[in-house]
C-alpha cells in the first residue's frame, strides 16, 4: 500500500510529490473546509434545517486528494459521499447544501464544471464514467474521467461491467474506490473474499494500486499518475484508497449497533488532517496563528454558504414539472393545472 505520509506525518522523501507551498496550504485549507462544512451539515440536520445526510468525516484526504489531481477539462462522476471532492472541484458549497436541504436545483452543476450529479444507486455511476471515456476516445479529446465509489460498490454488477468495458475499450478512466471498511453495517470482509480491492483490476486487464486513503499525498500522487496515463491513451487504472468511515452511514443510521468503539478509536489516530498538519509544520508552513486564521475564515465561509442556501427559494410547481421532458406534455400541463385546483386550495 502506497503511503507517503505516515500516521505521524513523517514523509517518504523519495515519494514526496512536487507541490508548491501555496498548493500545500490550499490542500490543507480544502480538507479543513470539508470537515467544517460536513460538521455544519450534521448540525443543520439535527436542527431540522437539512435532510438525511451522508457524512464525509474521515474521507477528506480521499476526496480532496482525488479532485486536486485533476484538470479543468477532466470529468468527474462522483457518489453521494463526496463533499470534499465537490468543494475541491469548485462546486459552490451553498449549492451543495441547497441540494441536501431538499432541492433538485442544488444538483444543477454550474456551466463549465465537468462534474456529473452524484449517483445514489450504488455503483451505477461507474458505467457513466466509462461511457464518457468512450466518447472522449471517439472524439479524440485527451482527458481523464474519474469516478468514485465505496467498497460496497465493488460487489455490484455495474462495477464489474464498468471495469470490464473500460479494459476492453481502453478508456481514460480512473476508478477511485474509497474503501472505508463499511457499507452501512456490512464490513469490507463481507463484500469480497479478495485480499484487496485493487487486485481486482488485474482481471480486467489493467493495473490497480492500493494507497493509504488518509494520506492526501498518496491519494493525490496515485490519481495524478493514473490521470496522466489516461490522458496519454494508456487506459484505465483502479485505485483503492484505504480509509475509514468515521461517522454513521447517514444521519438515519446508528453505527454503534454494529461496530466496536475500539475500531473507531484506532482510526482516529490515523486522522488525515492531523498528519498533514504535522507535515506542514515541519515545512514551516503551519503555526497556531495560521490555524486560527484558517479556522475563523472557514467557519465564516461555511456560515455564508448556509445563509445563501437557506435564502434560495424552493422551486415553483412549474419548475418541478418542467424538466421531465424537453417539452411539456399535455398530460403534465393538465396535472400541473390540477395541482393548482386541488392541492393548493383544497376541497371547495
Amino acid at each position: 500500500m502506497l503511503q507517503i505520509l505516515d500516521d505521524e506525518g513523517r514523509v517518504r522523501k523519495d515519494l514526496e510529490p512536487a507541490l508548491t507551498p501555496d498548493e500545500l496550504k490550499r490542500i490543507y485549507g480544502l480538507m479543513v473546509m470539508t470537515r467544517a462544512a460536513d460538521g455544519k451539515a450534521l448540525k443543520l440536520q439535527r436542527q431540522g434545517r437539512l435532510g438525511t445526510y451522508a457524512s464525509s468525516l474521515g474521507h477528506e484526504a480521499c476526496q480532496v486528494g482525488t479532485a486536486f489531481s485533476l484538470r479543468k477539462e477532466d470529468w468527474i462522476f462522483p457518489y453521494f459521499r463526496d463533499l470534499g471532492l465537490y468543494i475541491t472541484a469548485g462546486y459552490p458549497l451553498a449549492l451543495y447544501f441547497h441540494y441536501w436541504m431538499g432541492n433538485e436545483a442544488g444538483l444543477r452543476t454550474p456551466e463549465g464544471l465537468n462534474l456529473f450529479p452524484f449517483a445514489i444507486p450504488v455503483a451505477s455511476q461507474i458505467l457513466h464514467a466509462v461511457g464518457a471515456g468512450m466518447a472522449a476516445n471517439y472524439r479524440k479529446i485527451p482527458l481523464a474521467v474519474v469516478t468514485t465509489f465505496g467498497d460496497g460498490a465493488t460487489s455490484e454488477g455495474d462495477f464489474h461491467e464498468g471495469l470490464n468495458y473500460a479494459g476492453v475499450f481502453k478508456t481514460p478512466t480512473v476508478f477511485v474506490c474509497y474503501n472505508n471498511q463499511w457499507a452501512i453495517s456490512t464490513p469490507r470482509r463481507r463484500q469480497t473474499a479478495a485480499e484487496t480491492i485493487a487486485q481486482k483490476a488485474f482481471a480486467y486487464g489493467f493495473s490497480g494500486v492500493a494507497v493509504d486513503g488518509n494520506d492526501v499525498l498518496a491519494v493525490l500522487s496515485a490519481v495524478r499518475e493514473a490521470a496522466d496515463r489516461a490522458r496519454q491513451g494508456q487506459g484505465p487504472t483502479l485505485i483503492e484508497a484505504v480509509t475509514y468511515r468515521m461517522g454513521h452511514h447517514t444521519t438515519s443510521d446508528d453505527a454503534t449497533k454494529y461496530r466496536e468503539a475500539d475500531e473507531v478509536k484506532e482510526w482516529e489516530a490515523k486522522d488525515p488532517l492531523r498528519r498533514f498538519q504535522i507535515y506542514l509544520k515541519g515545512k514551516g508552513l503551519w503555526d497556531d496563528a495560521f490555524e486560527k486564521e484558517l479556522q475563523e475564515r472557514t467557519a465564516e465561509d461555511v456560515e455564508k454558504a448556509v445563509a445563501d442556501a437557506e435564502s434560495r427559494p424552493a422551486a415553483t410547481p412549474e419548475e418541478v414539472f418542467a424538466h421531465t421532458y424537453a417539452t411539456m406534455t399535455p398530460q403534465l400541463a393538465e396535472q400541473l393545472a390540477g395541482l393548482g385546483g386541488s392541492f393548493r386550495e383544497g376541497w371547495r
Binding site: R108, G131, N164, Y325
Partner: protein, 324 residues
Amino acid sequence: MKINMVQALNQALAQELERDPRVVVLGEDVGLDGGVFRVTDGLFQKFGGERVMDTPLAESGIIGVSIGMAAFGLRPVPEIQFLGFIYPAFNQIISHVARLRNRTRGRFTAPMVIRTPYGAGVRALEHHSESTEALFCQIPGLTVVVPSTPFDAKGLLIAAIRGEDPVIFLEPSRLYRAEKQEVPEDPYEVPLRRARLVREGKDLTIIAWGAMVPVVEKAADTAAQNGVSAEILDLRTLSPMDQEAILASVKKTGRALVVHEAPKTCGLGAEIAALIGEKALLQLEAPVLRVTGPDITIPLPKTEDYYYLNADRVAGGIREVMEF
C-alpha cells in the same frame, strides 16, 4: 422503393450516422454481424468500429455507458438484443436515463434511442417474445415508441434520434419482414407523440399498436362485411400518448376497443380505458372493451396461439362492443 421494416430501420440508422457525427450505434453483435435481425447490417463496414461498436455481453453496461456518452455530447443508439434481456439495464434506464434531466434541472440530459425487438408470434425461445411495454410507460421521462409499418419505422426512428428525450424504441419482430412498403429514400421524420389514423370509421374506435395493427385491420375487414365501420388508431407513441386523437375518435364513434398483445392486468389498455372513462364517459354507447393477451407467461411455440391474438378474437371483441 418498396422495402421491409428491417431495411427501413437500417436506412434510418445509416442516414443519421451520415448526417450527424454525434450519432453512434452500440450493442451486442451490432457490428460485423449486423445485429441478430440484421437491422444494423453494413453499418460497421460503412462507418467503422468507432461508431458502430460491438460491446461486451452486458446490458446494464450498454445503457450505462450510453448515459456517459450522451452526457459527453454524443447521441447513442444502443441496441438491446431482445426486450426480454433488457431487465439487467432497468436500474440504468429508470434511475438515470429517465430522470437525469430532472435531477439536474436540465443541465445534463440523456438523449438516446434504446432500440429493441419485442413481441410474440415468431415461434421463439423463452424470453424472446415479451411485450412488457407498459413497464416503461409508467416511468416519467421516457418516451415509448412502436412502429407498425416500414414507413413509420424509418420516420419515427429518425425523429427519435433527433429528439432531446430518451426513447424506448420497440420494434415488433413479427413485422420486421412481414410487408414491404413504399418508403422514401430521403430522410424524413414522423412526429413522436402522435397517433396515426389507420382507417376512418364511424361505429367504433379500435386502438392498437405494433404487430396488433395488421391483425386489427383484418378484423375490421370482417366487421365491414357485417356492416360495421371501424376506425383504427395506431398509437405509435405509447407514452406520452396522443390523448387528443383517442378522445376525438371515441367522441365521434361512441365505442372503443383496445387491442394489445401484452397481458391484460395493468396493461396500457387499462390506462386508455380510464382516460376514456374520465373524459368521454357521456359520449359512450358501450363500455370500453379490452382484447389482450392473458395474464400468463407467454407459452413456448407449441401453445403460443393460446396466448397470441388473431383477427378472429379481435373480431369477437368488435362484435361484443357493437352488440352491447
